[in-house]
Amino acid sequence: MSELAALKQKLEERFVYLNGGIREQGERRLWTEVSYDLFFEVLDFAVRELGFNALCTITGLDEGEYLAFIYHLSQGGIVLNLKTRVVKDKENLRTVTGYFPGAAIYEREVTDLLGVKVEGLPSGVRYPLPDDWPTGQYPLRKDWDPKVLDQKGSA
């Protein structure tokens, strides 16, 4: 059995609800999705038991009613793409800096660009938008229109 299949099996054995929900892509990619209340137990298992010791990045997606986030966890050449979603403007994320201190910048990025709040994120300067960016404008949301920047008093 390949390394990838072994990892997949371990995940499925540990979490029943992941059964059938893990997709292999090529030789070194796993894709799966969990609801946010179960997210941290899967993340914890992947980091502590399966040895996914690096976070490539966090991708944020606007899916209409929801905001989806993919945590790309890597273990050498293998990447586990762990997707989860929260209700837009209602639910917050919790920080993963406890596992990956370097994740702070990625969390700031989704905060700025998609407008999700991240609980427990250490204070610091914003990234990547400028300090005078109008509040409430999140450029990576699908319904965002760059024309608002041209109007005066858009904040």
Binding site: Q25, G26, R28, R29, W31, N53, A54, L55, C56, T57, T59, G60, L61, I70, H72, G76, G77, I78, V79, N81, F100, P101, G102, A103, A104, I105, Y106, L113, S123, G124, V125, R126, Y127, P128, L129, P130, P139, L140, W144, P146
Partner: protein
């Protein structure tokens, strides 16, 4: 120490957004006690151009050209990472010859990037001679890239499903000739790095990043490999033709700026060997397959070992001509996290070289071919014009020989 908690005794000084040490806007706010750095705050994002958003309203092929312009140095890295993701989604079988050519351009790019870095590092510690030497050698690679692809930067050689330009036998021979020359030069730089006292004094023990911290903070590329992390995407997650080629991931255990220098010099030597292998073993066949305009729905994550480290692209398609989402994580973003750690208890004088040692990516402009009021000029004519112009200023370039 937290930047906000510094007190009146400290001198607060900003390096950037505009500062001679930085080639790209970034801001470091420092609290200094004497020459010592007490706290540091890094602010980036001055170059945010909304490229990810821009990708969503362009077609896949337009996006490739847009993404290539993320960076003026590792442009091939971004375009390759992107087309790899799209090809995975579309299930395209890229011809082997195209994969080899991607490696060729990728390694040439690594050489010009590392030589550039070596020069910048020299300049940051006041060793301008090194800057002049390495940038002179780098010109040979830039000219070679222009001959092969038509451009010194932003080569535009990739396309979805392969590459756009083939390599002739004569070009292959010329590449080998230039690579041999550069290998000799690089051996000299390696000797220099081992022997020059002031250079070692300024690099050794500076910007310490122990292995655990490098892992914790997510450092990538030569920065991580200098802290004895052997991860190299080309080895661990092979793409293009790297799986078939013979090379080693260079690493060092000094965990400081000196180690990062050694790693980059070692990678230069590996790149020379890789290029020679590619030219020698280049398979026959087509250089591209036809790609559909509309990419079927799906998603893929592609990784690429850029000169500065792991470059990550995520592409999500929705079955139309435009992607649903493109996400880019450039290596510098991962490495910026480690800067504060590297500068703990160091001196102001170490800041430029420590920052330079992660090789922050900066934008370059391509050359222009129009001179005001004189219409379009050919390359030869432009060269002639510049020589005459400088002669009128009292500087004679006529006798300057090209190195190779």
């Amino acid at each position: 120490m937290d930047f906000d908690k510094t007190n009146d005794k400290d001198m607060q000084i900003s390096i950037g957004p505009q500062h001679p040490a930085l080639k790209e806007p970034t801001s470091f706010s420092l609290a200094l006690r004497g020459e010592k750095i007490e706290a540091i705050q890094v602010k980036i994002g001055y170059n945010h151009r909304g490229i990810e958003k821009g990708c969503e309203s362009r077609t896949y092929i337009q996006d490739m050209y847009l993404l290539e312009r993320i960076c003026g140095i590792c442009s091939h890295a971004h375009s390759t990472a992107y087309v790899q993701a799209v090809e995975t989604i579309a299930g395209l079988q890229v011809p082997r010859r195209a994969l080899y050519l991607r490696v060729l351009i990728g390694e040439l790019e690594r050489i010009h990037s590392h030589l550039l870095w070596l020069g910048v590092a020299g300049h940051e510690i006041g060793f301008d001679t090194l800057l002049m030497y390495t940038w002179r050698d780098r010109e040979a690679i830039m000219d070679l890239l222009a001959e092969l692809t038509g451009n010194r930067v932003n080569y535009g050689i990739n396309t979805i499903g392969g590459v756009r330009r083939d390599l002739t036998k004569e070009e292959g021979e010329r590449i080998v000739k230039i690579i041999d020359h550069l290998a000799e030069q690089t051996k000299y730089y390696i000797q220099l790095a081992q022997e020059e006292v002031t250079l070692i004094q300024r690099l050794s023990g500076v910007g310490k990043l122990p292995r655990e911290d490098a892992l914790r903070l997510g450092a990538v590329g030569p920065t991580a490999r200098a802290s004895s992390i052997t991860f190299d995407v080309r080895k661990d997650d092979p793409y293009a033709a790297y799986g078939e080629l013979d090379f080693k991931a260079v690493s060092a255990d000094q965990a400081d700026v000196y180690g990062r220098t050694i790693v980059r010099l070692g990678e230069l030597m590996e790149a020379y060997s890789l290029i020679k292998q590619v030219v020698k073993n280049l398979p026959d066949g087509p250089i591209a397959v036809r790609a559909p305009r509309k990419i079927p729905a799906g998603e893929a994550l592609s990784r690429y070992e850029a000169p500065r480290g792991e470059d990550v692209h995520y592409v999500k398609s929705n079955g139309t001509e435009n992607p649903e989402r493109v996400k880019v994580r450039a290596p510098t973003l991962a490495n910026t996290q480690a800067i504060a750690k590297m500068l703990e208890d160091r001196y102001l004088a170490d800041l430029p070289i420590v920052v330079a040692a992660i090789d922050p990516c900066f934008s370059c402009t391509d050359r222009a071919i129009e001179v005001e009021g004189r219409g379009l000029m050919s390359w030869e004519k432009l060269r002639r014009y510049s020589i005459d112009w400088y002669r009128a200023q009292g500087v004679d370039f006529r006798n300057v020989k090209r190195v190779i």
